[in-house]
């Protein structure tokens, strides 16, 4: 018997701006997350992938409870945890924790590492000093650091060590879901491999569920079980990693995957590239958000917003896409040429 999802989002909308400042003009409203629906199964690693402005970080913060969702339901273990004030929401979602993109900046520069870790436990009412020290020690060794780090200040740590401390700081609270925000950005390749290895190890050791926010597709392919591709606040394609990387259905996914640099030399000339820049999140096109850059776009695309539907050939895997023409897309990709506008190959 399969148990229910650990986290489930249903039509979640999250809005930036809006309202007006005192004596100021009304701020334009940005729907940074616009109707996102998906489930996360216990123990899996789900990647949220997309480019800057696609709303992946906003979605992560909404799930975490730091931002209040405008509408939609968020269920944790089947229990409704949405519709609360930010403070209440954060309390209800304490089993979800977040590792910042820049874990060094997430540490108070005036506090030693030991002090910071200790504080984390005190916030969560672990009042016994010996108990706190034991848990800190335990967690430091789990992330591969020794206790000499407790006396150091954040600026004395290397990038890799800061990531480890960032992880230790939240794992100490025994979370079940960990949101990793761009966990490898700014890390050198040789350090990145070690850190990714550590993520894998900790996930199995503590039975964690990961939500992996990233734009680095080679890392995502290596680390995650499922992928959600986001564009302008919406999920455009969702499914298991390998099928999506092997046979992407949505035009945007295909563009994104082909643009991601791989180690095979010299394919630049043959690569189709998207035209223009993405539209501003405050002026999302009607219907399908990607239609202004998509070769398959027609009148239907501007009139109706495509729903996230199962891809027929791959429905058993839970492969879904939000595109009116995904079948045409499959068809035209059969001869190897991706149907897209762009700065054509020379």
């Amino acid at each position: 018997m399969k148990s229910g999802p650990i986290l489930s989002l249903e039509n979640v909308v999250s809005v930036y701006g809006g309202g007006r400042s005192w004596l100021g003009r009304a701020q334009p409203e940005v729907r940074a997350v616009d109707g996102v629906t998906f489930d996360v199964q216990e123990g899996e690693a789900l990647a949220l992938v997309g480019e800057s402005g696609c709303g992946k970080t906003t979605l992560a913060k909404t799930v975490l409870g730091l931002l209040r969702e405008r509408s939609g339901n968020i269920r944790l273990d089947g229990k409704l945890v949405s519709g609360l004030t930010p403070q209440q929401a954060r309390l209800a979602r304490m089993t979800i924790q977040y590792v910042h993109q820049d874990p060094g900046a997430a540490l108070d520069p005036w506090w030693t590492i030991g002090h910071t870790l200790d504080e984390t436990l005190r916030i969560h009412a672990v009042s016994d000093r010996a108990e706190r020290a034991r848990r800190i020690e335990e967690m430091l060794s789990a992330v591969g650091l020794d206790s000499s780090f407790l006396r150091r200040y954040p600026h004395e740590l290397s990038g890799g060590q800061q990531r480890r401390i960032g992880l230790a700081r939240i794992l100490i609270l025994h979370p079940r879901i960990v949101i990793l925000d761009e966990p490898t950005s700014g890390l050198d390749l040789s350090v990145q491999a070690t850190v990714l290895g550590l993520f894998d190890e900790l996930r199995h050791q503590f039975g964690l569920t990961y939500i992996f926010v990233s734009h680095d597709l080679s890392v995502v392919r290596r680390m995650c079980d499922r992928v959600a591709i986001m564009y302008l606040g919406r999920v455009v394609e969702l499914g298991p990693t390998e099928p999506i990387f092997r046979a992407p259905v949505h035009s945007y996914t295909r563009a994104l995957l082909s643009a991601s640099p791989s180690l095979t030399p010299g394919q630049l000339d043959g690569m189709p590239s998207l035209r223009d820049d993405p539209p501003s999140p405050s002026a999302v096109p009607s219907g399908c958000g990607f239609r202004t850059r998509c070769a398959l776009a027609d009148r239907v695309c501007s009139a109706h917003r495509p729903a996230l539907e199962a891809v027929v050939d791959d429905a058993a895997n839970g492969h879904m896409a939000a595109c009116h023409h995904w079948q045409d897309g499959l068809f035209s990709s059969a001869d190897g040429s991706l149907a897209m506008h762009g700065v054509g190959a020379q």
């Binding site: 050198d188 491999a193 630049l268």
Partner: protein, 339 residues
């Protein structure tokens, strides 16, 4: 790269040291690097490998308290060193060597129109060696250069180039700003363009657009480019040849396909094996990059190298020819090559 083609930009045995409060730091240690005409050469390495210092040294922009202690940099066979004298540096920088900076969000002055910012470089240096406008009166000169800027902006595929001149930097997206900076680097028709991680701040689909543009421009205009990055994937996409650096030393150099497919220096091999695409068990390279204040003797990779031999600490390994057109600086590889 073949020995027969004379290098356009030739860096030989370049060493750069910085005086710090805690002593002298050796940032570059005998770097060798040749840029063949019409090619794109990648310089790749992790942080602390000295790749940005290399760019600054070539441009004659080394910060205060740092100096070149040995070696030479030559452009077209003419030595550039003595570039510390600001006047020479000024005439070479911009005119003969263009520069594309890393962060398009910081590299443009937000209070000036982009047209004026692009005009400025040409005003000082003229628009290339065959520029006839330099003698003309101000107004004519200005008009001629403005036309050239529009032509350049069209070449970098910026939408509405005529209107763009009168706009301010914040009115452009990151990708568009990077296009502006590429236009600025090309303004004085340089022979060589140095690019310092120009796509790091951009999204992958924008990055692809910019890389394709750079490729196309270098081909059309016969410009050679030195492309500094930490991303092997970008090197594989864009470059013809590549130099790998570690802790201020040149490790390996050669055609991209050879170096990426069959790396021979232990560092290159281990680093490429860390890439998520290739890594089997997600293990990094043990140890850390040495501090430039106290670098290990000889090959600087020797404390982390699993294949170290006694020679490794004896001196800086020479960059010697190895198989498939590449050069490697590794005592063990040298020893194995000699039967």
């Amino acid at each position: 790269m073949t020995a027969s083609a004379p290098a356009l930009l030739d860096v030989r045995n370049l060493s750069v040291a910085v005086d710090t409060d805690e002593g002298v730091a050796s940032i570059l240690d005998g770097v060798n690097f040749q840029l063949a005409p019409g090619s794109i050469h990648g310089v790749v390495g992790e942080s602390g490998c000295g790749k940005s210092t290399l760019i600054k040294a070539i441009l004659g922009l080394l910060p205060a308290r740092s100096r070149a202690t040995e070696g030479s940099v030559a452009l077209n066979g003419k030595p550039l060193f003595g570039l510390e004298q600001a006047s020479t540096a000024h005439s070479v920088r911009g005119r003969q060597i263009g520069f594309i900076p890393q962060d398009p969000f910081l590299a443009l002055n937000p209070v000036f129109r982009v047209g004026d910012q692009l005009l400025e470089a040409m005003w000082w240096h003229g628009a290339g060696s065959d520029d006839t406008n330099r003698e003309k009166p101000r107004a004519q000169r200005r008009r001629a250069y403005s036309e050239r800027i529009v032509e350049l902006l069209r070449a970098v595929q910026l939408p509405d180039p005529e209107l763009a001149l009168a706009r301010y930097p914040h009115q452009f997206s990151g990708g568009q700003r990077q296009r502006l900076l590429i236009a600025a680097a090309l303004a004085c028709a340089p022979q060589v363009v140095l690019a310092d991680e120009p796509t790091t701040a951009l999204d992958v689909t924008t990055q692809l657009q910019i890389l394709k543009l750079l490729r196309q421009l270098t081909r059309e205009r016969g410009v050679s480019m030195m492309f500094v990055t930490h991303d092997f994937g970008v090197v594989a996409q864009l470059c013809d040849t590549v130099t790998v650096m570690y802790a201020g030393q040149t490790v390996e150099t050669g055609p991209v396909a050879t170096v990426m497919e069959q790396p021979s220096h232990p560092y290159t091999r281990m680093l490429l094996a860390c890439h998520p695409e290739r890594s089997v068990e997600l293990k990094g390279i043990p140890g850390a990059v040495p501090s430039p204040l106290r670098p290990p003797a000889g090959c600087r990779f020797n404390p982390r190298c699993p294949e170290v031999i006694p020679d490794c600490e004896s001196g800086r390994p020479k960059l010697l020819p190895a198989s498939a057109g590449r050069h490697v600086a590794c005592f063990r590889c040298h020893a194995e090559a000699v039967p």
